[in-house]
Amino acid sequence: MQETAWQVSLVLMLMITFGVVFVAINSGKREEEYGPLVKRAYSFRTKLFWAVALVFFPAMIYNLMGLPYSPKAVASSGPAQVINVTGHMWYWEMDRDQVEPNQPVDIRVTSADVNHGFGIYDSDLRLIAQAQAMPGYTNVIHITFPKEGTYRVLCMEYCGVAHHNMMTEIKVGKS
């Protein structure tokens, strides 16, 4: 996902760069009559509008699929394994830290004091899921760990002076 976001951003940013450089290069020689130029520019803009819209709207809708808010339908679904998590300044309290791979896990995240963020990192240190830990509310991360191994948990919401030390681990593997 991060890779895609990065590449799409780069492509869009480059396209804008080309447009701006094109205009800068063509800024030197003056076309005295602005009216005709505006007409051409407006008709190009209409095309541009539709081109952008035709890419953006489907992308926007497409990206509304697979939202993290509800569990994904999984083939091998049994009852989900549940981890109850409470964030404290500045440590994580979890009622279990070991789950089975390839089976759904519900991580129920809340906080005992201030806002924290429960971020799960895989062994390549890539963020794979997160939810806010907010006092008075419980957010549920629905996740299925594909691989055995140790996943790191980092705090994703600033919570004071030891925020960056608020780490723990989830072990994924047969018990």
Binding site: V20, V23, T138, Y158
Partner: protein, 495 residues
């Protein structure tokens, strides 16, 4: 009816008040940039100031930057708007005094009281300090924000009054008669339309912000006065998002006003322009859920709204304002000087920074990129290379010795240093976000450190360039208040 002839308007010098705003902006901006550099170097392990100082500086940098760019944006807006409507200098100065009062309170809270709950003062962190700061320090910080907010409310009320008395209503200020009826060509100029938009959204944003600040201030001393954390977060981000975005919409007035003077082409408030500003008025107020996507407790429709408006919001920026600037410059024979360069590049910075921003507003992306360095990556792009470039462009405009004054090689080098420094700095942030480096970490994991180092060098280049900009403006202050022709005329085949 639309005509495409340009009617020259004389360049006016800045009032003393505007110059006071700008000089203070220079000083604070530079100091906050140095603070930013310190943070980046701490993460890069090039220096060692410790977590407490890191977070104190982070709190100052966030509050200070947001405040100072608002001040600079207000200076630009006020300078041009008063050429169309009748604004009160007294209120303009009252805002400055309230601002400085608030700044002193915030500085005292952080430096003397060790307050470090970040500029977003997310409830209940300010009142839950684990003994790191006192309730008094928290109250001082929030009180300082409140005082600054009151100043801006006054300023916007005066602007609203002036626009209403000149045009007959805020709807007219947004050009609604021309937008929804026949375009008689009498819509207010872009500077007025933008000021109206900013005034509407900021008044609403500031009232919401002040409400949550007052609630939290009560909570400091009366803990039984309970506040719902989810509600508090929604209110804070509504205010914060509106306020920081309004800053860009204020500063862009410099582009609307000055680029036409260089190209002798008009920037008209036509239907598309008016529609885009009305759309922005609404969208900037309803887009804030994109900060809350990882709070599953909000209603789903609310979060999806954030996602959708995030996509839509890019249209006015790209297709109307960005494109409009391209149109006015294309084959215009514009003479490039420091002012026109900076204003032109500012729209590039704004548009290019909006790309990673809306991508982050995609819920499935946000799931793995929220609160990573991707976020400061995109907002530093459009704030530095967009908003701040507009401010410096405006300063070069005010200080330009005469119409045909050439730029020194040092200034031109500083321009490129600024562009390259900023892009390098923000791209390193974005890349760090791509590799999942968390934001607001005083200490980075070893895997993240190489990019922190690269970012620090680019930040140094950027700050060195800004030093030149600031030096140049301060040495030309005497010119800035005089009325004379500044914008170079476009190269013309006719003359």
């Amino acid at each position: 009816m639309a005509t495409y002839t340009y009617t020259p308007v004389p360049d006016q010098g800045a009032k003393a008040g505007v110059l006071a705003y700008l000089v203070i902006s220079c000083v604070v901006l530079l100091l906050m940039m140095l603070f930013g550099l310190l943070m980046r170097m701490e993460q890069a392990q090039m220096i060692s100031i410790g977590a407490l100082w890191f977070y104190k500086i982070m709190t100052l940098h966030g509050a200070g930057m947001v405040g100072i760019v608002a001040l600079a944006g207000a200076a630009i807006m006020w300078h041009f708007l008063r050429q169309y409507v009748d604004l009160s200098t007294g209120i303009f100065m009252a805002n400055l005094i309230l601002f400085l009062t608030g700044v002193v309170m915030i500085l005292a809270s952080v430096l003397l009281g060790d307050f470090h709950a970040a500029w977003t003062f997310l409830f209940p962190l300010p009142t839950t300090s684990m003994g790191m700061w006192s309730p008094g320090a928290a109250a001082l910080f929030m009180g300082g924000l409140l005082v600054i907010g009151v100043g801006f409310v006054l300023l916007h009320l005066d602007i609203a009054r002036a626009i209403i008395s000149r045009y007959g209503g805020l709807g007219r200020g947004l050009g609604w008669p021309q937008l929804f009826g026949p375009d008689d060509g009498n819509a207010p100029p872009p500077a007025v339309v933008a000021s109206t938009m900013v005034t509407i959204v900021n008044l609403i944003g500031l009232v919401v912000g002040a409400s949550i600040l007052v609630m939290m201030l009560i909570n400091v001393y009366v803990p039984t006065f309970e506040i719902d954390a989810l509600l508090a977060k929604g209110m804070i981000y509504f205010f914060g998002h509106v306020f920081i975005n309004a800053v860009i919409y204020m500063a862009v007035i410099a582009v609307y006003e000055i680029l036409p003077r260089y190209t002798q082409r008009p920037w008209k408030s036509n239907k598309v322009f008016l529609a885009s500003w009305t759309a922005s008025t609404i969208m900037v107020m309803f887009i804030f859920p994109h900060h809350l996507l990882m709070d599953y407790a909000y209603p789903k429709w609310f979060l999806i709204m954030g996602h959708i408006i995030g996509y839509l919001n890019t249209f006015p920026i790209l297709i109307v304002t960005g494109y409009g600037a391209m149109m006015i410059v294309y084959r215009s024979g514009i003479r490039w000087d420091m002012c026109s360069r900076l204003l032109f590049v500012s729209l590039f910075g704004w548009a290019v920074g909006a790309m990673p921003a809306f991508i982050d507003g995609t819920i499935t992306v946000n799931y793995v990129m929220h609160n990573t360095l991707w976020v400061p990556g995109h907002f530093h792009t459009y704030l530095l290379l967009g908003m701040v470039a507009m401010v410096f462009g405006f300063m070069y405009y005010l200080g330009k010795p005469n119409e045909n004054a050439p730029d020194s090689a040092l200034d031109v080098a500083a321009f490129w240093g600024f562009v390259i420094g900023t892009m390098g700095f923000t791209m390193s942030f974005l890349y760090s976000g791509k590799i999942s480096a968390a934001r607001r970490y005083a200490e980075h994991l070893p895997e993240w450190v190489p990019y922190d180092k690269i970012a620090s060098y680019f930040a140094m280049l950027l700050i060195a360039s800004v030093l030149v900009f600031i030096f140049r403006f301060l040495t030309r202050l005497g010119l800035a208040s005089r009325d004379y022709q500044r914008a170079s005329l476009a190269r013309s085949m006719a003359t």
